[in-house]
């Protein structure tokens, strides 16, 4: 197993290199640069800035420099927020995004899993149809509709939650964003769980378990659920990578200082180093979580062997 993990991490290096290279050159293909702003800087200042950040060097040299810095863990300075390096921005924003994202993910897995199981056990009955309706609503209503509705109801009308802001990480401030982020995921997990649970309940070994007179709890939880959980485990990998790296919509509407907004803002502003930093972080999260999922698989399913 350790050998397998090592091998996977080793193959992650070329993957990352390809991603970094493609992102580096793609963003440079886009017209404009970090210092072409609406107000316009005087040509001398612009030239000075570009010289200072090495933007006048040939592109391949910039690429080599960037890779060199990256290897030393240095993401470089942000061009549009000159007081911060990209590393500092992540150090502030990432914990916020991770807290919100992880809470949403855990909520989605627990609640979605529960709803899906209830639906499967009551297939084609009222409870099942309710869950399907809820899941359809959850995955079709966009977050930019859900978020303001939550703000309106919980914040303004009932005054239960703050309307927005981080509040230094107060619990109440997190509820709105977590709910908004979790709802579509709950819908997806519930749907997945329902399907795989129905299939699992029909399998021959469940028939065996019933024929042996095992309790309903054991049949459902010990035997059916464990088999049904595998698709959820695969889903968790990419979902975790997406959720933990923040959401621009949720962070903007609730005014939360996460890193979700950076990607879009940085791309629009041609803040090259920040774009690259975001790409690297998202790629790393994706690779690591997919690896974790594959390792988890081997724990849940003894038929999966890595060696």
């Amino acid at each position: 197993m350790l050998r397998y993990v090592f091998r996977r991490l080793l193959t992650a290096i070329p993957t990352l290199l390809v991603i970094v290279t493609m992102a580096f050159f793609l963003i440079r293909v886009a017209p404009g640069g970090p210092f072409n702003q609406e107000r316009g800087l005087s040509p001398e200042i612009k030239a000075n800035l570009e010289a200072q950040f090495g933007l006048n060097d040939p592109l391949w040299l910039q690429y080599v420099h960037y890779l060199g810095n990256l290897l030393r863990g240095n993401f470089g300075p942000s061009y549009n927020m000159p007081d911060f390096t990209v590393g500092e921005l992540f150090a502030r924003g990432l914990p916020v995004s991770i807290q919100i994202g992880a809470s949403a993910l855990i909520l989605a897995l627990l609640l979605g899993g529960l709803l899906g199981t209830i639906a499967a056990l009551n297939q084609n009955k009222l409870a099942d149809y309710s869950v399907i309706a809820l899941a359809t609503a959850g995955s079709t209503i966009p977050t930019f509709v859900i978020a303001p509705v939550i703000q309106l109801l919980f914040g303004l009308t009932w005054k239960l939650l703050p309307i927005g802001g981080w509040g230094d990480g107060a619990l109440l401030n997190k509820i709105g964003p977590v709910l908004t982020l979790a709802l579509p995921q709950i819908a997806i997990v519930a749907r997945l769980m329902r399907g795989s649970m129905i299939e699992s309940l029909r399998s021959h070994h469940i028939r065996t378990a019933r024929a042996l007179g095992l309790s309903d709890w054991s049949v459902v939880v010990k035997h059916a659920l464990r088999g049904a959980i595998l698709p959820i485990v695969s889903f968790t990998g990419p979902a975790a990578a997406a959720l933990l790296t923040g959401s621009i919509i949720v962070e903007t509407i609730f005014s939360i200082p996460g890193i979700g907004r950076y990607f879009v803002e940085a791309a629009l502003n041609r803040d090259y180093t920040l774009v690259m930093g975001t790409v690297v972080v998202i790629a790393l999260f994706t690779i690591v979580f997919n690896l974790i999922v594959d390792v988890m698989y081997a724990f849940v399913d003894p038929r999966v062997r890595y060696d």
Binding site: H205, T208, A211, L212, L214, S215, D301, P302
Partner: protein, 539 residues
Amino acid sequence: MIASETILSVKDLRVRFRTLDGVVEAVKGINIHVNAGETVAVVGESGSGKSQTMMAAMSLLASNGEATGVVDYRGRNLLALHKSELNQVRGRKISMIFQEPMTSLDPLYSIGNQLIEPIRRHRGLGAAQAREEALKLLRLVHIPDPERRMKSYPHELSGGQRQRVMIAMALANDPDILIADEPTTALDVTIQAQILMLLAELQRKLGMAIVFITHDLGIVRRFADRVYVMRYGEVVEEGEAEAIFVNPQHAYTKMLLAAEPTGTKAPPPPNAPVLLEGRNVEVTFKIGGGFLAGEPLILRAVDHISIRLKRNQTIGIVGESGSGKSTLGRALLRLLPSDGLIRFGDRDISAADRQAMRPLRRELQLVFQDPFGSLSPRMTIGQVITEGLLVHEPTLSGRQRDLRAVEALREVGLDPNARNRYPHEFSGGQRQRIAIARAMILKPKVVVLDEPTSALDRSVQKQIVELLRKLQADHELSYLFISHDLAVVRAMADYIIVMKQGKIVEEGPTEAIFSNPQASYTQTLMAAAIDVTRFRLSA
């Protein structure tokens, strides 16, 4: 036989399923009883309702199923019991083993874990005691190295071993009745015999009654004290096993008993030309390997096999699963890459690529085992049959093709008017006829028949065997008949090759092999399949 107490009686049992096509009645008011310690067989072909009867008794019907009537176990109606009361009986007093040993165990838990669970539940033992009991059970069903097997997972066991574990689980709480639903159907013949002998031995030791649900009259003859014959959800005949075999009353029972394929095939004349020849054919598969993954494992599925198929000859290739018999058939048709020499007529086709093989394909046809999977569900029968003509006789007009389809369907005994219908509208036997028609329409010289009768009921098997024989006589066909079923091979082939682990263990004319098998493996196969000694004499 000593009259003993009736412990299970099924009275006026009806099973209905709600389906999209309305309510289907699978079991239509049957009466069955089981006495303590006896062996009862419920016999019937697919769709007779024999399995659903016992599923209903155990409350294991699918969610759209519903059972009415009475299933009386020692004075309690199982159908009316609350689930928690029912679970006091299921797995404890009445237990069940199933046809599918590969999927009937939970793949995610170790054997030990799965054995211990019902012991603890029904007997309230502690973990350590239950573990001891589980080990005892594994020894009882002759699992080698039980300590180690406790930690194994189902996928690490062979089919026969899994069925042994299933039996151990079923016997964990010393049941009154063991219901065995086609317990050996999915197993190789030698393993079948072992499992049946194990069940007989356990019955002698433990004294439980056994209910066999089976389509295999061989099992019934060897095992059963009493027999119920079912058809279309009804019991058409019941009685002592001996009486039913000696003097069947109902026409359906007579038909079932006569359904064993009979007759033999005369060998072709000695001067008949060799059509398909393989010399030192070898097929290897690579398993695993790749980037940073180390050396691949080389598996030799066909190991230096030589074979000569003459015109109008049928060579039966016999072997158990994994023996390489299907792989050999495919390699000879150049559907798999292989080493060695393969000749068709006077051409060396060992190195022929797809392009070069294409014109020869019409003369080398293949019929598969699975009549359900091998026909495209979205094409009409006419389209399925004539598809090959589009490739091999592209000059034919649509009308000519249609005429050929009519001719081919008539030849395999189907109504030609059926050619605009779709495969799902046909039964298994009819579909196999369609698959045969698809091969025959091209007027082939050699047909590889890969287990063509294995998925069919005995009575249908017999018809297919007769059809294949007639086609061979009419067209001087050569067959390579791949099968694990010795009764069918005996009726079809004039020459037999017995394979094991990719090698030929014995070959010769059919009668010589059957009357005087030389290799010990062949003897085991024969004994397992043909022997009719009773395992259990009526007490």
